[in-house]
Amino acid sequence: MDLFEYQGKQYFARYGIAVSPGDIADTVDQAVAVAERVGYPVVVKAQVKVGGRGKAGGVKLAHDVDEVRLHAGNILGLDIKGHVVHRLWVERSSDIAKEYYASFTLDRQNKTHLGMLSAQGGVEIEVVAEENPDAIAFLAIDPVRGLDVETARRWVNDAELDEAAREQAAELLVNLYECYTKGDCDLAEINPLILTPDNKVHALDAKVTLDENASFRHPEWEEFRADEFEDPREKLAKEKGLNYIGLDGTVGIIANGAGLAMSTLDVVNQVGGTAANFLDIGGGANADVMASALEVINTDPKVKAIFVNIFGGITRVDEVANGVLEALSRVEISTPIVLRLDGTNALEGRAILAPHLNDSLITEPTMLDAARRVVSLANA
């Protein structure tokens, strides 16, 4: 789960990482109230989960109440790369002496944690890595041993952070590592991490991705969930416990297993179609899950045909067949469904569907045959 900047800053604050005083605002009046509270000048920042906010006009400096009104009014409702701004973060503006970069993520190749620290912050780290890789100090951290402040001190020296910033930065990095590990982040990134003219180090931005697998030990994540999805289809799918990603095509996809679902997208594409979504109903899906999956896809007006691609392992194909029939009895599915059913109890599943087959409920023997059929229906 990706967090908004304001959520990331709230999360950082839990781990003792200094951030600028500020608060969220959903209206111009709220933005003014926050600005009056934290003191001018303030920065008004669009809260969207996409990069390049500044360039799109989503980050503005305001020196007084009129400027807050002007900028908040302009930014609320702004469309930044397809993301409409519904919320602002208003914080006390910081004077900046230096901008740094810091992050922790998993190094999948070496199976250790990877810290990245650079004295050249404020720009995209990918650009720094490309143009001046020596400006990034990489630190491999054994997950068993963790990061201690001694190591962090050597690290800030290696990265050639300014003298005045080093001790504070070392302590902040240890806290950020705590946030990353104990806080179960896939990514914890600060860009920029700043040094102020009066020699204070703090986080001016926050980019946090949480590991959903750890949600069982983080009840505090619940507050982040309300705003998790911008796509209404994804929101509905989440409520029904489905693993769904919305796309832009015309073929609705339901498959069991992430690999098979990805493969189904690929095959549909290869035979000239476009997928409307990725939907993995998972292992052991029963009739009810299948029915929910069809209902979610049915809410997407772009879908012209649905491809149900099942290879039964734990999932039993007879259960899937019953689910399809249950869905058809529960909701009116407005588009044709093409099914490919193989694996555990496939014969039983096909037998269950046989008496119900017609022009809008079709089975095909293989994945490729089914893909061709569903694409011809979707493109008709």
Partner: protein, 294 residues
């Protein structure tokens, strides 16, 4: 021959008394796997359909001589179960559990490497391993596999593992061993481990490799193949049409920036002399041609 497990492998099931453990553990036994015991703390002395249950892995190993363990416990207990297996003397651990936090996986993996260098972990979040006709540990349905070789399969995806087995079995092509390494960010066993074992196995004559978007394991495998592999390899990479920045179901399946795309993986594999196919069916047919020409 087969790799990692064979007809002599004795297996215990950690979590045998749970719903999933019972279903799959007994299904593995019915397939012919030597399932010699189960482990559930507090339930030692009981049995599951005749399979004795022990309180600890150590007791189970002492009583049965098991060398392999099938870990089928919920995510919050999985890391402890894996480490208990290693401490108890198990050398081959298969963990099918889906949903283990990445931080836990990273610690568990590194503890295994540092403290138990002789132990191999397969998974987590994998379908398991099957050496057809000999041993099946995990959730793969035994009846889609065909004994006798000559093809080895290694796959990052569960259902695509079944699809690969099915494509080959339908053509009458058997498998030596089929290994599902799983789609999590910190897998215990990777492509290269399996490719090396298949390369060393005299009965495996060709290998099918199923990858997916995310990470760089396929690229590293391609490098390894280029310099070490003399047996033909057919590959399929899922996720050509996957959008960047979205996890496609598996925690590991995500394109970050320009890294981890299916195309980059396919290019690397093709450059290493691998037969790169565009869908599972095509991969199965290509393998059919290769096996016929052997």
């Amino acid at each position: 021959m087969s790799i990692f497990v064979d007809e002599n492998t004795k297996v215990i099931v950690q979590g045998l008394t749970g719903g999933q453990g019972r279903f799959h553990g007994l299904r593995n036994r019915d397939y012919g796997t030597k399932v010699v015991g189960g482990v559930t703390p507090g339930k030692g002395g009981s049995d599951v359909d005749g399979v004795p249950v022990f309180n600890t892995v150590k007791e189970a190993v002492a009583a049965t001589g098991a060398t392999a363990s099938f870990v089928v416990v919920p995510p919050k207990f999985a890391s402890a179960a894996i480490l208990e297996a290693a401490e108890g003397g198990i050398t081959f651990i298969v963990c099918i559990t889906e949903g283990i936090p990445a931080q836990d996986e990273a610690i568990t993996y590194n503890r295994l490497v540092e403290e138990f260098p002789g132990v191999r972990l397969l998974g987590p979040n994998c379908p398991g391993i099957i050496s057809p006709g000999k041993c099946n540990i995990g959730i793969t349905s035994g009846d889609i596999a065909l004994a006798g070789g000559p093809v080895g399969i290694v796959s990052r995806s569960g259902t695509l593992t079944y699809q690969a087995l099915y494509e080959l079995s339908q053509q009458g092509i058997g498998q030596t061993t089929c290994v599902g390494i799983g789609g999590d960010p910190v897998p215990g066993t990777n492509f290269i481990d399996c490719l090396a074992a298949f390369q060393a196995d005299p009965e495996t004559l060709a290998v099918m490799m199923i990858g997916e978007i995310g990470g760089s394991e396929e690229e590293r495998a391609a490098e390894w193949i280029k310099t070490n592999m003399t047996k033909p390899v057919v590959s399929y990479i899922a996720g050509v049409t996957a959008p960047a920045g979205r996890k496609m179901g598996h925690a590991g399946a995500i394109i970050s920036g320009s890294k981890g795309t299916a195309q980059a993986k396919m290019d690397a594999l093709a450059a290493a002399g691998v037969y790169v196919c565009l869908n599972p069916t095509e991969a199965g047919q290509k393998m059919g041609e290769i096996v016929k020409a052997l």
